[in-house]
């Protein structure tokens, strides 16, 4: 018993040492980089949206075309091996926009291509992006349900 307690205390003591000696990330610099990378992607998105708005009459169609264009951009940059570097630079600034979602799908699909098209690429494509889809659908359903209950739905 005494030996166990000593071992647990030793481990806790060590974990404190690890915390103490851990490299301290520069939060301000990381936040600034995330802001710049995320901002640039959103600026591009706005630019694309304005272009479609200029060409297309309805807003809904322009939004759909913008999303599809940004997804395509994410896919192309991933296939070229660039988007992981964007992620290293911008962190969440690169992960949160829809280009990041496209990257999560494409990178997994590329990785598992060698295991076959069906059980590899198609099945494993969602290992990273799957939760986003699951919780996105869940959140959408719940929001819709609440809206319907309070009579705010369409």
């Amino acid at each position: 018993m005494d030996r166990d307690r000593k071992a647990i205390e030793g481990a806790k003591d060590y974990q404190r040492l690890v915390q103490q000696l851990a490299p301290k990330p520069n939060a301000a610099r990381l936040a600034a980089r995330a802001f710049l990378v995320g901002g640039t992607i959103c600026f591009l998105g706005q630019f694309v949206f304005d272009y479609f708005r200029y060409r297309q009459p309805t807003e809904g169609e322009a939004i759909a075309a913008t999303l599809a264009s940004m997804i395509l951009l994410g896919v192309v940059l991933t296939a070229l091996g660039v988007y992981d570097d964007v992620g290293q630079l911008g962190g969440m600034g690169a992960a949160v926009p829809i280009t990041g979602f496209a990257n999560a799908l494409t990178s997994a699909a590329m990785d598992f291509r060698r295991e076959g098209f069906v059980l590899g690429m198609a099945a494993k494509m969602f290992v990273i992006a799957g939760p986003v889809i699951v919780f996105g659908i869940l959140a959408g359903t719940l929001t819709g349900l609440v809206a319907w209950l309070v009579g705010a739905g369409p």
Binding site: G10, A11, K12, Y14, Q15, L17, V18, L21, A22, P23, P25, L30, T78, G81, Y83, D84, V86, G87, Q88, G90, G91, M92, A94, A95, G100, N103, A104, T106, S107, A108, M110, D111, F112, R114, V127, I128
Partner: protein
């Protein structure tokens, strides 16, 4: 009659009777490793890390097999001149080692000690040779950044921001032939201290240095105690791959019990890529410590810079499943002593 093991020192250490030698060694590394500060010590650099293969797994076993064959060439031996192949790697079911053994056709002992495979393999080989159970033993290992990243972490092209504690898996293969002392003039493996699995509750698989440092400390102190030696008795104490973060913790732990390593300590993982920002805390991977031992240490010993080296490769023994289930990362460290005549 009580069992008496005559070739043991203290509780944990093996003292070899006629210490076997490393008679042939070959390090075959990828482009990033070749461009690093230790690049000049490697025997061959492959410019394309995929080496023309369609998958990283196929490339990894190519590195292992080619390193093994070239090590035999270096020793002037053929496959039938060695009795065992001891090999291991990081992939599930140690497939790189197994598939290489398939084409080498040498009786095969597959081992796993993650990034401490080098010392486990060399130590076992030395015991087999010294015990008279094998004439010569071939030891080989390999790792590949992409295959290991895929298995342990995320898809290669995923936009993940790597932390400063993250380590970069080295790409390459390395192999050595261990033979009786009468053959050749390479460094001799004189003592071995196989380590215990040590787990001090580090749950962050992105901080393997912190998970492995206690194991390195444990094996080092046990080795000192068993052999009645101090850091002063060695020209170099080389750990691997604690990398930068783990090395700092290792030195802090060792200093706590009053042992000063001073300028004697070097870490393979911390040295492999210098200060390259993409490498995070430094290198890891089962080839890392093997390549540093057979590249840098082996060659500097041949030049006479080091005469007695204590090598402490370290391994992090978690799997992606245990980590996802919330288990901590157990570490291990095996020590071998290399000496020139």
């Amino acid at each position: 009659m009580p069992a008496i093991a005559v070739q043991r020192l203290g509780e944990y250490t093996v003292q070899l009777r006629q210490p076997p030698r490393i008679v042939g060694a070959f390090t075959l590394m990828g482009p990033r490793e070749g461009a690093g500060p230790l690049g000049q010590y490697f025997d061959a650099i492959v410019d394309d890390d995929m080496w023309g293969e369609v998958s990283a797994e196929k490339a990894e076993r190519k590195y292992l097999e080619h390193a093994a064959r070239r090590a035999l060439d270096q020793a002037g031996l053929a496959e039938q001149d060695v009795d065992y192949l001891i090999a291991g790697d990081l992939l599930n079911q140690i497939v790189s080692a197994t598939f290489s053994a398939r084409s080498l056709g040498i009786p095969y002992l597959g081992v796993f000690a993650a990034c401490a495979t080098s010392a486990l393999g060399l130590g076992l080989a030395a015991m087999l040779v010294d015990g008279g159970y094998a004439r010569r033993v071939l030891v080989a290992t390999a790792s590949h950044y992409q295959s290991v990243e895929r298995q342990y972490r995320y898809p290669i092209e995923l936009n993940i921001q790597r932390k400063e504690t993250n380590q970069w898996t080295a790409t390459g293969g390395a192999a050595a032939v261990v033979a009786p002392p009468g053959e050749g003039a390479g460094p001799r493996i004189t003592r071995i201290t196989f380590g215990r699995v040590v787990d001090w509750g580090i749950k962050d698989a992105n901080d393997m240095g912190a998970a492995m440092a206690p194991a390195a400390c444990d094996t080092l102190l046990r080795h000192f105690q068993d052999t009645n030696t101090t850091p002063g008795d060695y020209d170099l104490i080389i750990t691997g791959d604690l990398a930068k973060v783990g090395s700092k913790l290792f030195r802090a732990l060792v200093e706590r019990v009053g042992v000063t390593l001073g300028g004697k300590h070097m870490d393979g993982g911390a040295s492999m890529y210098g200060t390259a920002p993409w490498a995070g805390a430094g290198a890891s991977g089962s080839v890392c410590s093997m390549a540093v031992l057979l590249g840098y240490v082996y060659k500097e010993m041949a030049r006479g810079r080091y005469r007695r080296v204590l090598a402490l490769p370290t391994g992090c023994l978690h799997s992606p499943t245990t980590w996802q289930q919330g288990d901590s990362c157990p570490g291990i460290s095996h020590a071998i002593v290399l000496e020139t005549d």
